[in-house]
């Protein structure tokens, strides 16, 4: 059991205002702490500092059971604290699951004879023994997070930090991981600090919510914590307005005999499917079921079986350049979308080629204010927080105003206020410009009033879901 103690931590990224201001906090040993706060409030920064991935600024102290991290030998450090990243695919060095586990254990100077036992135990604990020899890059985000947790279990770290580990994970996987974490905390006395926006499912585990706001950490009382968590009751996550498409509904895409597979694994069995025009369609489904791959085939970035037609024409026969202006994809990873360096340059690009008659400079400024991105014109995109990048990405794509906009997890890593702002912007633009929106999202809170159709990807089949009144 290790208690984490932080005192007088002030941290400012290069040439920017401080994110953390004289922060003092204690995370009790053997407890499950839930850390929340608006996007850009510095949750990732704080966790990286605790994990020792970012050097501690002078004047600040950070101790584990009274001992600073620097006082420990290198191989002890990973036994003291480990971090599970927000972006699943970026936390591995090696090619396969076993090799990555070996790599971590080698670093801890575990004897080769003891390795297989530890590896088996860690994989079994998380329930992913069957992933043992799989290639890491071919796993879905949820599977990758499970592997990352198994590595932390194998390393036997006392303090486990998790930076929005469920941001792109389906509810079932989230529940499995959460269950494992609680077990680690209860049975093995691990200290767990988890940063999350989505507060659902924590009520039974958390007594005191930790809030990071304006560079300071505050711990809420039991009553205040329960009130905050109650705002995320599962009832709010139901879709109430969706309907089944009828024969009269006009479609923009028609898929015929459409099927998807990846690395010899079937994702979607061949089927016929219309996607409806001028409407908002939500696509849900477990992690790794092929939702993103489906989007990539719609924008011709991947192979598929069968044909897809857009407004009656085979999409493979339309000129790439023309097609890209009609059907655009908001990538799941925000940085993939950006082509420039600063916020202003990025907005200027969208303004030049996008719908400038609708997105006047005034409207853009208003949208920036709405998204809490004002005054960041000269900031380098890559120094924005992941939530801020996501909001900027959404605005840039809306300014392009393509007829069909595919959005892959547009609300990933956004706090509740940001989601509301993003949704307002999204729906106003859609209504005014009559766009077709197709959204993949695990985040369903607040989405319900805006969704017209709901496609669920389960058992290798995309099917429309309707609400039976």
């Amino acid at each position: 059991m290790a208690t984490v103690n932080i005192e007088h931590l002030t941290y400012a990224p290069d040439h920017q205002d401080p994110v953390l201001k004289d922060l003092t906090a204690t995370f009790l040993g053997g407890r499950f702490s839930l850390l929340t706060g608006p996007s850009g409030s510095g949750k990732t920064t704080l966790l990286r500092l605790i994990a020792g991935l970012t050097p501690l600024p002078t004047g600040a102290t950070l101790t584990f059971n009274g001992q600073p991290l620097a006082a420990q030998s290198p191989q002890q450090r990973s036994q003291t604290v480990a971090l599970l990243f927000q972006e699943p695919s970026t936390q591995f060095t090696m090619d396969t699951v076993t090799n990555e586990l070996r790599f971590a254990l080698e670093n801890q100077q575990v004897s080769p004879a003891a390795m297989p036992g530890k590896i088996d135990a860690a994989l079994a604990f998380v329930g992913i023994t069957d992933l043992r020899d799989r290639n890491l890059m071919q796993l879905s985000g949820g599977e990758q997070q499970k592997v990352a947790l198994a590595i932390i279990v194998a390393m036997d770290s006392d303090v486990i930090l998790l930076d929005e580990p469920f941001a792109s994970i389906d509810p079932a996987t989230r529940q499995t991981l959460l269950d494992r974490l609680v077990k680690l905390c209860r049975d093995q006395g691990k200290t767990i600090i988890l940063a999350d926006h989505d507060l659902s499912g924590y009520a039974q585990w958390i007594d005191h919510l930790t809030v990071l706001h304006a560079g300071q950490v505050t711990t809420l009382s039991v009553a205040a914590t329960q009130a905050r968590l109650a705002a995320f009751t599962p009832e709010r996550l139901q879709l109430t307005h969706v309907q089944l498409p009828t024969a009269q509904d006009k479609s923009c895409f028609e898929a015929k005999g459409f099927g998807l597979s990846q690395n010899d694994r079937t994702l979607i069995l061949p089927e016929d499917l219309p996607l409806l025009t001028h409407k908002t369609t939500l696509i849900t489904g477990p992690n790794g079921s092929g939702k993103s791959t489906f989007f990539r085939s719609l924008v011709r970035l991947g192979r598929y079986q069968g044909t897809i037609t857009y407004q009656g024409r085979d999409i493979q026969r339309i000129r790439r350049r023309t097609y890209a202006r009609h059907v655009s994809l908001m990538f799941q990873s925000a940085t993939a979308q950006f082509l420039n360096v600063t916020v202003a340059e990025e907005l200027a690009l969208s303004q030049r080629y996008g719908n400038a008659t609708y997105f006047t400079p005034d409207r853009i400024q208003a949208a920036l204010a709405q998204l809490d991105l004002s005054g960041r014109d000269e900031q380098i995109i890559y120094s924005l927080s992941s939530g801020q990048q996501k909001k900027l990405q959404l605005l840039c794509m809306l300014m392009m105003a393509p007829e069909v906009l595919l959005l892959d997890e547009p609300f990933k890593g956004l706090d509740l206020n940001s989601i509301q702002a993003a949704l307002t912007l999204l729906t106003t633009t859609q209504r005014d410009l009559d766009l077709t929106l197709i959204i993949i999202s695990h985040q369903l809170g607040g989405l319900s009033p805006y969704v017209d159709y709901h496609l669920d990807l389960a058992h290798q089949q995309l099917t429309y879901q309707g609400v039976t009144a």
Partner: protein, 217 residues
């Protein structure tokens, strides 16, 4: 054969034939490489690529030297065959070596600092990612109304930027899994350096020396 020793052998032979002009040895090396590649069941497509590309450059070089300059036919044959020796020797190495094994061997047998060994592995693993990234940047640009050609500096600027981002992420990933520069590590899998490896190494070098000695005018 031990990967580090194999790498050393290939580099040494390549260096040696760069400074000598014996075309018979070059041809012998080409034949031996082709036999090894054949035994390792190289794909015909790969082999065709490995032949066509150097053939183009070698022919261009020879042609230009024939038009201008006063190189002897002997020298031209040496140059022509040398190009293929490089390519096929390199191919025998890459086709018969698993990157991870080479990394482990470099760390354990060649005593290369772990940081470099794993840096090499990471760079190798990055290639397919870069290819996918270029396609994505292309598509992302088109959706924003910009057409990036393969000569557009913006395309490479973006790819380099992403690669730099990856290198930061990789450093974090390695650290979070307990990697510390210069810290001692254990090895899950031992890469043996056997007497047999040294014998093959020594014998191969000796054969090349004998060939060069006999072939020298």
């Amino acid at each position: 054969m031990n990967p580090s020793l194999k790498l050393a052998l290939v580099v040494l032979i390549a260096l040696e034939i760069s400074f000598t002009q014996v075309w018979t040895v070059n041809v012998a090396l080409i034949v031996i490489s082709l036999v090894i590649l054949g035994l390792n069941r190289i794909h015909i497509r790969t082999l065709v690529w490995l032949t066509v590309v150097p053939l183009f450059f070698a022919s261009a070089l020879i042609w230009s030297l024939m038009l201008r300059g006063n190189a002897t036919p002997h020298f031209l044959i040496v140059l022509f065959t040398r190009m293929f020796v490089y390519v096929y020797l390199g191919a025998t190495f890459t086709q018969t070596t698993v990157p991870l094994e080479l990394t482990r061997s470099l760390e354990q047998n060649a005593k290369l600092p772990a940081k470099f060994a794993y840096g090499f592995l990471a760079a190798f693993n990055l290639f397919p990612k870069i290819k996918a990234e270029v396609a994505t940047v292309h598509a992302a640009a088109m959706m924003r109304g910009q057409v990036l050609h393969f000569w557009s500096p913006q395309l490479y600027f973006k790819v380099i930027l992403t690669a730099m981002n990856w290198s930061d992420q990789l450093a974090s990933a390695m650290m979070s899994h307990g990697f510390v520069e210069w810290a001692p590590r254990t090895y899950a899998i031992n890469v043996p350096l056997r007497t047999r490896d040294w014998v093959i190494f020594g014998a191969s070098l000796l054969l090349v020396q004998i060939g060069l000695f006999i072939g020298l005018p």
